[in-house]
Every structure is written in structure tokens, then in C-alpha cells.
Amino acid sequence: MKSIRQVLFCVAILCFFFFLNHFLTLYLNPYYLQILIYAGINVILAISLNLVNAQTGQFSMGHAGFMAVGAYASAFFTDRVGPLLHSFFTHVLAFPDFFSSFFIFGFALVIAGCLSAGAGFIVGLPVLRLRGDYLAIATLGFGEIIRVMILNMDVVGGARGFTDIPIYTNVFWLGLCVYGTWMVIGNLIHSTKGRAFLAIREDEVAAECMGIHTTKYKVGAFVIGAFFAGVGGALLAHEVGYLHTNSFTFLRSIEIVVMVVLGGTSLVGSALAAIVLTLLPEVLRFFSEYRMVVYSLVLIFLMLARAKKWKST
């Protein structure tokens, strides 16, 4: 009985996003749609970093690096392996085009997530022995190392960028990924095991005394965060259709950290902050070349406004 309900629920979710996608592509101005998609991608990134930064208290500044891994891995998959799979699906299995691209992009997203998670594991295991600012600067360093490595790989275009990536990202996939991220991370932090993350944030030594395997949980949070960062990167790659390592500098990581800090510890806060900070530069287009100055002023102002609340507690 329960499993039938679960299946039905999944189908309902799929249908909802499917029709939402159709409705929005038909009636929403593509410009707003574009911003909506960027906002969604940023929500995924902010929530996944929230798990690491706000819930587990591990200050990571290398999120853009994991995004880059996911973006390039998925683009490589859809661009090089995709056409083969497509002909296999359509000719051998006689799938319609729609299902073929559905499966290809689905695979690409999973591959992006898994590779990023792998990178997260390799980076996290040694680095998470560090704390606070040291951890921040080490993760930032790893993010930059990943970027430089991609820049030197000619198979993904190097300095000339990765071109001709098929445009697969739409509201359907975006909604599904945002929903998935939210569900996984939201349920995780409210589960019994997830309390361990909070315990580590509050006091690592005490958590260890309680019998929590801190390394396991810290690395775990890092790997899960990296997984969804990779998914976010894959969505971005298949939205823009072009990749360049300039999109994944440490400034990008900092942008995501700002979202998390501004939004506070809750997931809702991070998601809202992600939306606000995506909209902000667009609203400020009015100011033309002044907009980045206004953007930074607003950022400082928001931080100072938050400070009043911290003072009162």
C-alpha cells in the first residue's frame, strides 16, 4: 500500500514539473525564465553548501571547483557519449527522441554528481582535519587547483572553452533537481543521523565524546555537498551551452558562501538569499556600470543589518 502511494507521489511530482515546464516556456518571457533557471541553480548550490557550512560548521570556500567538475564531466558526457547513446536508444530500442534525451541528461546529471562527490571525497579526507579560516583557505586553494587542471585539459577545450553543449536544462529538470536537493538535505539534517552534523557544528570535541565519528560525518557532509554542487554545475553547463573556466573562479565560491551566510542556518533562508542575490544584479541593470558598486553596497548593508540581530542574541 505504502509503496503504491510512493510511486503515485513520484509520478505526480514528475507530471507537475512536466506541466510547469510547458506552461512556463509558453507563457513566461524567456528572459525571466532564464533568471528563474539561474536562481534555481543557485538555490541548489546554496542548499548544498548550507549542509557543509551552516549545518556541519565546516567553512568551505571551494564550491565552484566542484561545480566545475560536474559541469565539465556532464558536458563531456552529453557531447561525446551522448550522440552514441542517442543512436542506440532511437535505432536499437526505438525510443522516441524525447525519452532518449531524457535518459541521456539523466545519466549526465548522475555522472556529474558522482564525479564531484568523488572529488569532494579526495579533497575532503585530508583537508577536513583543518578548522576555521585554515579550512576555508585550503578549500579555496583546492577549488583553484581544480580550475587550473581543467584549464590545462585540451579534451575539454582548455582556454578556448567547451563549445556545442546541447541545451537540455529546462524547468522540468531544474524543478526536479531543486526538489531532490531539498528533500535529501532537508530530510538528512532532520534525521537522527543528521543531528550528528549539528553536534559537530556546536562542539566538535563534545560530539566526539558522545561517540560520533566526526571525520566520517564531516567528510560525508562534504561529499553530499559536492554531489549537489556537481548537479548544479551540470544544469548550468546545459543551460548556457558553453563552458569556460572563468565561470568557476573563487569569486563564484564566495558568492555561494555569501548566500549561505546571508540566509542564516536554515535551508529556507539559504534558498531565499540565493534567489535575492540572483535577482539583485538583474534589478540593478538599471544602474548600468554602477550596478556592481550598488551590489557590493547592498551586500555590506545586508550584512550590517544582520549584525543587529546577532548583537541582540
Binding site: 582556454a159 548556457v240 531565499l272 535577482l279 548600468s288 556600470e289
Partner: protein, 373 residues
């Protein structure tokens, strides 16, 4: 705070919802006005604005005043895409001008192609940009042409046999130009001894230059932008390198001579035009640019101006603001007398025009040689 953020988000959504209407004809520009290549975006915008100011003073396009809508892309590819989508879908521009960098043109151009809005890029040299579709045009050289010109010039005219290449490895323009230069130079029978690299924004090049110098090349080819070339030249001379330095159109700016000083004396670079060309197109442009902005135009400004002029010319010939008709007219551009030379659009929608090789002598950039395509 959460509530505050929510209110802010909704408020911003509302602000973005409202737009203005007017009877002018709108032309969109996307440029890097902020971020690490802001200086190129600014120059290009100045060139484009000057062009349309002149056009408006002469009565506009097909009787309508042109209103430029300039959008910033923060020097990032994904922002370039947003800017283009905004220009096309919200502002409903009839044509798009931009970007300087190929990496951002490659992100923005597919959107123009999909919406059948013609796009003319002033300075994206990567051949892939115009391969995106039949609505994408350019008024600059492509990398293979310019790389070949300089390689032949180095081998045949200067008689050089051993050249080192110093590339800006984070810059697609530089990497592309270096590749084609090396290819042609090797085919001619020359030798590339030593390839070193730097990154845009660097100011310290002594390490790489020391390595280059120890291999004793006759000349160094530096396919970079003027933002770095002056310093590279200075440091090369400080370390005792005497041979000539060679470069591409990225060198074209008063900054090269200003920063490089005596270090760039006797150096050569390829360009679209010579600023000492007596032709009235060139001299008029330089004069009015100086009047308006108080500075000498660089390559980006010139190409921006020409891109705007070529587009305006096409709209005149099409006598319509429809994308498809402008596209037709653009494709038929033949021998348009631009500042950067006589522009003919070939079947790949690239500009076919002569290159000039310039020499820096006594602190001035002088015409040296003309190379037909």
C-alpha cells in the same frame, strides 16, 4: 531576516516586471563593463556609441532615431547569455552588437541565432563564433588569418628563423593566435624554440622571460593584449633581450607605447588599419573620438565603431528592421569602407579585409607593410 529577504525578492520581481515603450529603434549591445576585462568592453562601447551618435545626427536609421541599450555581462559567459536574452526578449532589439571576447560571444550568439536576430561581433576572433549560425557576423580577422600574416612576415620579411612564443594562456584569443602562428611558421621552415605562458592580469613576467632568453631566440611573438604587452617588453629589455617583439591587433592601443616606452621600439604588430593612414575615414574617426572622449581610440573602439557602421549600412540597404532582411543585407556587405579597412563579408560571415603590419618607431606607431587576404 527571512521575512525581509522574502519581501526583497518579491519587490525585485515587481521592479523587473515594468518596462518602457517608445518609438525609437532599439539596438542591443552586450559588453564587459565590469569584471576583469572591463577595459575592452568600455572601449568597444565608446566606439559603438560614437557611431550611433553620428548616425542619429544624420537623421537616424530609416527615419528613426536609434536607441542603444547597453548591457553588462560582468566578463562572464553565463551573464553574457542572460544579457543577450534580455536584449532580445524584453527589449526587443532589432540587432545585437558584441562581445569582444570569443568566450562570451560563444555563449551569447546561440541565443541570437535561435531568435533570428542578427549579431555582429566587433572583436571575437575564434572561427567557431560565426560557425554558430547564419545570423552571426564579425568585422575582425579570424585567428588563422592573422597568425599566418605574422608568421609569414616574421619569416619572409624579417628573415627570422628562431622565434619564441609567449602566450596568455587564459585567453582564447591569445591561445588561438599563437597556435596558427606556430603552425604557419613551422610550415615555412622556421623553428619555434620555447613556448612560455602568462595569465591575463599578471604583472611579473621575468621568470618566463629569463627562460626564453636563455634559449636565445631571434624574436619573441607575444599574441597578447596591450594591458600586458608594455610590461612584458619592459621586463624583457631589463633582462637584456635585444631582438624584436611581434604581436597582433591586441597591441593596438596608446597604452602599448605609453607603458612600454623605449622597450617597444622597433617592434612589429599586425592590425586592421594604420592610425597614420591619410584616408579621411580614419582621420575623421580619430578626430571625433578624441573630441568626444579625450583619448586616442584603441583596437576595440575601432572595431566597435566599424561593427556599428556595418550594421547600420546593412539596415539602410535592407530598408527594413526585420531580422531576416538585415541578415541578408549583412551577408551581402561588399567593400564597405570602414575605419579598420575595406570590409567584405565572405560566405562564412567573416570579414575579409587586408591586414597591415605596423612598426613602433620613436614612440609612434607607423605603417610598415600591407598584406592582402
Amino acid at each position: 531576516m527571512r521575512k525581509f529577504l522574502l519581501v526583497l525578492a518579491v519587490g525585485m520581481g515587481l521592479v523587473m516586471g515594468c518596462g518602457k515603450k517608445s518609438d525609437d529603434v532599439k539596438i542591443g549591445v552586450y559588453a564587459s563593463l565590469t569584471g576583469n576585462t572591463a577595459t575592452f568592453g568600455e572601449s568597444m562601447r565608446k566606439g559603438i556609441e560614437l557611431a550611433f551618435e553620428e548616425i542619429n545626427a544624420q537623421g537616424g536609421l530609416l527615419g528613426k532615431k536609434v536607441r542603444l541599450i547597453v548591457e553588462d555581462d560582468q566578463s562572464k559567459p553565463e551573464e553574457a547569455k542572460t544579457a543577450v536574452v534580455k536584449l532580445i526578449k524584453r527589449d526587443r532589439v532589432v540587432a545585437v552588437l558584441g562581445e569582444v571576447a570569443s568566450s562570451r560571444s560563444l555563449a551569447g550568439a546561440p541565443e541570437c541565432q535561435r531568435s533570428s536576430v542578427p549579431m555582429v561581433t566587433p572583436a571575437s576572433t575564434n572561427p567557431k563564433v560565426t560557425e554558430i549560425g547564419d545570423y552571426i557576423f564579425r568585422v575582425c580577422f579570424i585567428d588563422p588569418f592573422q597568425g599566418e600574416v605574422m608568421a609569414k612576415f616574421a619569416y619572409q620579411t624579417l628573415g627570422l628563423r628562431r622565434v619564441a612564443v609567449f602566450t596568455d594562456v587564459k585567453n582564447d584569443y591569445s591561445v588561438g593566435l599563437a597556435n596558427y602562428f606556430e603552425k604557419t611558421f613551422l610550415e615555412l621552415g622556421g623553428k619555434i624554440i620555447g613556448e612560455e605562458s602568462y595569465s591575463e592580469g599578471d604583472i611579473e613576467f621575468r621568470a618566463q622571460l629569463t627562460t626564453i632568453k636563455s634559449q636565445k631566440p631571434e624574436a619573441i611573438f607575444i599574441p597578447g593584449y596591450y594591458t600586458e604587452v608594455g610590461l612584458i617588453a619592459r621586463q624583457a629589455r631589463e633582462l637584456g633581450f635585444q631582438g624584436p617583439l611581434l604581436g597582433g591587433d591586441g597591441w593596438d592601443s596608446p597604452k602599448t607605447v605609453e607603458i612600454g616606452g623605449s622597450a617597444v621600439e622597433g617592434c612589429f604588430f599586425s592590425n586592421h588599419y594604420a592610425s597614420d593612414d591619410p584616408a579621411s575615414v580614419v582621420q575623421d574617426f580619430i578626430r571625433s573620438f578624441k573630441e568626444k572622449y579625450g583619448e586616442v581610440p584603441d583596437a576595440m573602439a575601432v572595431l566597435g565603431y566599424d561593427a556599428a557602421r556595418v550594421l547600420a549600412d546593412a539596415i539602410h540597404r535592407a530598408s527594413s528592421f526585420q531580422g531576416a532582411k538585415i541578415r541578408e543585407a549583412l551577408a551581402q556587405t561588399k567593400g564597405y569602407e570602414g575605419v579598420s579597412g575595406r570590409v567584405t563579408i565572405d560566405q562564412n560571415r567573416n570579414a575579409r579585409k587586408a591586414a597591415v603590419v605596423l612598426k613602433i618607431e620613436n614612440g609612434r606607431v607607423k605603417f610598415f607593410k600591407r598584406v592582402e587576404p
